[in-house]
């Protein structure tokens, strides 16, 4: 059902855990739907120096979080904002159709975390 990439990121999640020095935290989804994704960012001079995630959800949700954090690590806030759910799904060698929403959740969690950082820095939030 899942690609080798998905299974690899599910079995060996990258950047999993909490970030104590995070200055941007975003949480999306809800337990009723069966998926919650929480992204922690540590941003210095508009660059994502460090990133971590916590996820409640299926294999695809965990793999999408892991892959998304890999794709934005060391990138600028602008680059991270423009990461699309398609790019996450592609990097995972595809997701089953009913699991595409997991990659959308990853994109949304990054947006939420960036906006949290902007809010804390008294900067205007970005719009979708």
């Amino acid at each position: 059902m899942y690609s080798e990439q998905v299974m690899d990121h599910f079995m060996n999640p990258r950047n999993q855990g909490r970030l104590l020095n995070a200055n941007g935290i975003g949480e999306v989804g809800n337990a009723t739907c069966g998926d919650i994704m929480k992204i922690y960012l540590f941003i210095v001079d508009s660059v994502i120096e460090d990133v971590a995630f916590e996820t409640f959800g299926c294999g695809a949700a965990i793999a999408s979080s892991s892959m998304a954090t890999e794709l934005i690590k060391g990138k600028t806030v602008d680059e991270a904002w423009s990461l699309s759910n398609k790019a996450v799904a592609q990097a995972l060698d595809g997701l089953p159709p009913q699991k595409i929403h997991c990659s959308i959740l990853a994109e949304e969690a990054i947006h939420a975390a960036i906006n949290d950082y902007l809010r804390r820095s008294d900067l205007p939030e970005r719009k979708e």
Binding site: Y2, M7, F10, M11, P13, Q16, G17, E27, N30, A31, T32, C33, G34, D35, I36, M37, K38, E54, T55, F56, G57, C58, G59, A61, I62, Q98, H101
Partner: protein, 394 residues
């Protein structure tokens, strides 16, 4: 590295076809290929085999062989029972009673009948998934033509008070159908003593082949055909008989019913050990009734984590399990059964179903009890919902 284990704990999804059943079937795929409707000897050999299987089913559930109709499985039997009774009796009334925890093969035909002008009452269940006979009695109206209540639930294993519900239906003069797909071969059944008018069963749930089942229809029940065509099954179910499958069904039901007592004793002991072992995991809870449940069913909810990721990790250890019904694993909908039992919405996603079988060993159970706590811990460490006291110290 040691060989990967292969522990099958999804016997409610399907069972392994027993070698004796396969041996019984084989000749009907090779030399005895005749059509039972043909007059020559070839055909008559097949016909005799089908009639023998019919006799075996009749004996297993306590009915007459002329009341057994072979079908393509549980879904067809349920569809036929519900739509067939609805259309044959609509002059009497258009009201049907069922429960909110039925298999989709009952719920969806009922919903379709609503679109055809019928009215359906979906009865609630208690926290254990039990449908009270009183609620059935209370829901029966002048225009009620059918009550359809499952014998045992496929997800949580709860066994329903079938004889009591049957007695109420008999007294009120309403046909009583039961989807006994999970119960046949595992729970003693007698359609007369239990006042059952129609009963669905499926061979692959008791070590028979897939794609074959039957519907028991009491001789006085008015029912329309579902499959129109040739005159097979006494003109009630068209289509050339699936002879090898039917022979397999007969052999499997015969075998399962005669071994039932012994087999249940053994499986139930393992089940109880597994439940006890898994409930030592903090924030876990047993779904379904503690004692009134199928001898092979374990269904446990683990808070703060999601079921599919548990399955994927179990699979890495060679353990095959399910989150609930195999039929819904492709959809994202939470289990309608757990929702009906009142499990809060934020917890229905964390359930795991392990269904044991004849081949399950003490070692298998020990292995699962050994492996699962680590899997739960690993996923809880990953989940934003997990309280700090349940997390690994870093």
């Amino acid at each position: 590295m040691s060989e990967k284990k292969c522990i099958y704990m999804d016997n409610a999804a399907t069972t392994k076809t027993h070698p004796d059943v396969v041996s019984a079937m084989l000749p009907y795929m090779t030399e005895y290929f005749g059509n039972p409707s043909s007059l020559y000897d070839f055909g008559q050999t097949s016909k005799k085999a089908v009639e023998r299987a019919r006799q075996q089913v009749a004996q297993a559930i306590g009915c007459g062989p002329e009341e057994v109709y072979f079908t393509a499985g549980g879904s067809e039997s349920n569809n036929w029972a519900i739509k067939g009774v609805a259309f044959a009796n609509q002059k009497k009334g258009k009201h049907i009673i069922t429960s909110s925890i039925e298999h989709h093969a009952v719920i969806h035909p009922c919903e379709w009948l609503v679109s055809q002008g019928f009215e359906v009452t979906f009865l609630p269940v208690d926290e254990y998934g039990i449908i009270s006979p009183e609620s059935v009695a209370g829901a029966i109206r002048e225009d009620t033509i059918l009550v359809s209540i499952m014998f045992a639930n496929n997800e949580i294993g709860t066994i329903e008070p079938i004889p009591e519900i049957g007695a109420i239906c008999k007294e009120k003069g309403v046909y009583f159908h039961t989807d006994a797909v999970q119960a046949v071969g595992h729970v003693p059944i007698n359609v007369d003593e239990m006042h059952i008018d129609l009963l669905s069963l499926s061979a692959h749930k008791f070590h028979g082949p897939k794609g074959v089942g039957c519907l028991y229809v009491r001789s006085n029940v008015k029912i329309e055909r579902l499959i129109h065509g040739g005159g097979q099954e006494r003109k009630r179910r068209a289509g050339t008989e699936h002879v090898p499958g039917i022979v397999g069904l007969g052999a499997a039901i015969d075998r399962s019913v005669s071994l039932m007592y012994e087999s249940n004793m053994q499986i139930q002991k393992l089940r109880d050990r597994l439940i006890e072992g898994l409930l030592t995991i903090p924030h876990s809870r047993l779904n379904g009734h503690p004692t009134n449940r199928l001898s092979n069913n374990v269904n446990i909810m683990f808070e703060f984590i999601e079921g599919e990721s548990i399955l994927l990790l179990l699979n890495q250890y060679g353990i095959a399990a399910s989150t609930g019904s195999a039929c819904t694993s492709a959809s994202l909908e939470p289990s309608h059964v757990l929702v009906a039992c009142g499990v809060p919405h934020d917890r229905v996603h964390g359930s795991l179903r392990l269904t044991l079988g004849e081949e399950t060993t003490e070692e298998d159970v020990s292995y699962v009890i050994e492996i699962l706590p680590g899997i739960v811990k690993r996923l809880r460490d990953m989940s934003p919902l997990t309280p700090d006291e349940l997390r690994s110290k870093k």
